[in-house]
């Protein structure tokens, strides 16, 4: 009985979707085909790479819109991400003594050891992902991509590290929360410096096309790359503490 109802619901959703797409594409319900290029789009396309006062020095119009014409949007998105990370940090924070207790308990916790084959292959794949993410981020002002895209690819690389080697191994090798938060702060400060730099040059806040060449877009992409990849990594490091360890430390059972 429920299976029949489920199928009916699913099929009606599909039917609604097909009717809607047919109406938009064939019968031009929303009037999209009459107006292929709107004036705003025309402005972006004709000014992004052309010399002049409104230029962004970038052939990649999407990045030009994201960081220059609609720069405030992206800046505030970065701050929303900042607030999310700060929220995670403040909800799940531990005092210095508690952090030591967690470290002691993780040392005695039984560790999974992945196969040698898996470990070696992961190292190779990891190199490729880091290379690709860097190329996405550092080429962001020339080809499709940008800081956020590269940073999220880098976050996936750090996840692979988590799954194959344990969190404890990473922290022993020096990738602790303190270091990742430091790198995150470096990224945020690169963004803030680039955003405030036009004020020194006599322009407005976020008027990054005053900076020489494509330096403004490049700096913002690099800053966002660092901020997103290390922000995600810090969240994973915080959430990666095993639940039973967290509970025991919070209850203060170990003493």
């Amino acid at each position: 009985m429920t299976l029949k109802r489920d199928t009916a619901v699913a099929l009606s959703f599909l039917l609604a979707f097909l009717v809607l797409s047919y109406a938009v594409v064939e019968n031009d319900v929303m009037g999209l085909s009459k107006n292929p290029l709107r004036p705003l789009g025309e402005f972006y396309l004709s000014h992004a790479f052309a010399p002049g006062e409104m230029t962004s020095h970038s052939p990649e119009v999407v990045t030009a819109i994201v960081w220059n014409y609609r720069g405030f949007d992206t800046l505030f998105e970065t701050f929303v991400f900042f607030l999310a990370i700060m929220g995670t940090l403040s909800i799940l924070r531990l005092s210095g003594g508690q952090e030591d207790m967690v470290r002691d308990m993780e040392r005695v916790e039984p560790h999974r050891h992945m196969d040698l084959i898996v470990q070696v292959i992961t190292r190779l794949v990891l190199l490729m992902i880091v290379g690709i993410s860097a190329s996405i981020a550092l080429h962001g002002h020339l080809t499709p991509g940008g800081g956020f895209q590269g940073g999220s690819a880098m976050a996936v690389a750090s996840l692979l590290l988590f799954a194959v080697f344990s969190k404890f191994t990473l922290e022993r090798r020096g990738l602790t929360l303190r270091h990742t938060l430091g790198a995150y702060a470096v990224g945020i400060s690169i963004i803030l410096l680039t955003v405030y730099a036009p004020l020194v040059l006599g322009g407005h806040f976020l008027q990054i096309n005053l900076l020489p060449g494509e330096l403004g877009l490049f700096d913002l992409d690099v800053g966002e790359y660092l901020a997103v990849s290390f922000g995600f990594l810090s969240v994973f490091l915080i959430l990666g503490v095993s639940e039973w360890i967290f509970r025991r430390v919070l209850r203060g059972e170990l003493r």
Partner: protein, 85 residues
């Protein structure tokens, strides 16, 4: 006249719809997560057909990698099966 890329787009997005519906109906949260990442792969293909490579790069990494991992970590702190109904 129906163009080929629009037809492929409709197919891909319909598959995405089917998988999102399956993910909603699934009571095992880990299976639902796997289904939802299949759905986002289909939607990423749709974005690629719509000529938005910037979105594809971010969407795949976030929806299949980071979002899945965060929810797995959250599930590991609660229970795997949804109860009720």
């Amino acid at each position: 006249m129906i163009e080929l890329h629009l037809l492929i787009l409709a197919m891909v997005v319909s598959f995405g719809f089917v998988f999102s519906y399956l993910a909603m109906k699934e009571h095992d949260l880990l299976k639902a997560l796997a289904l939802s990442s299949v759905q986002s792969t289909f939607f990423a293909l749709g974005f690629y057909i719509l000529a938005a490579p910037d979105i594809v790069l971010a969407y795949l990494a976030i929806a299949v990698g980071a979002y899945t991992a965060l929810v797995i970590l959250a599930i590991s702190k609660t229970e795997r099966f949804e109860v009720g109904e």
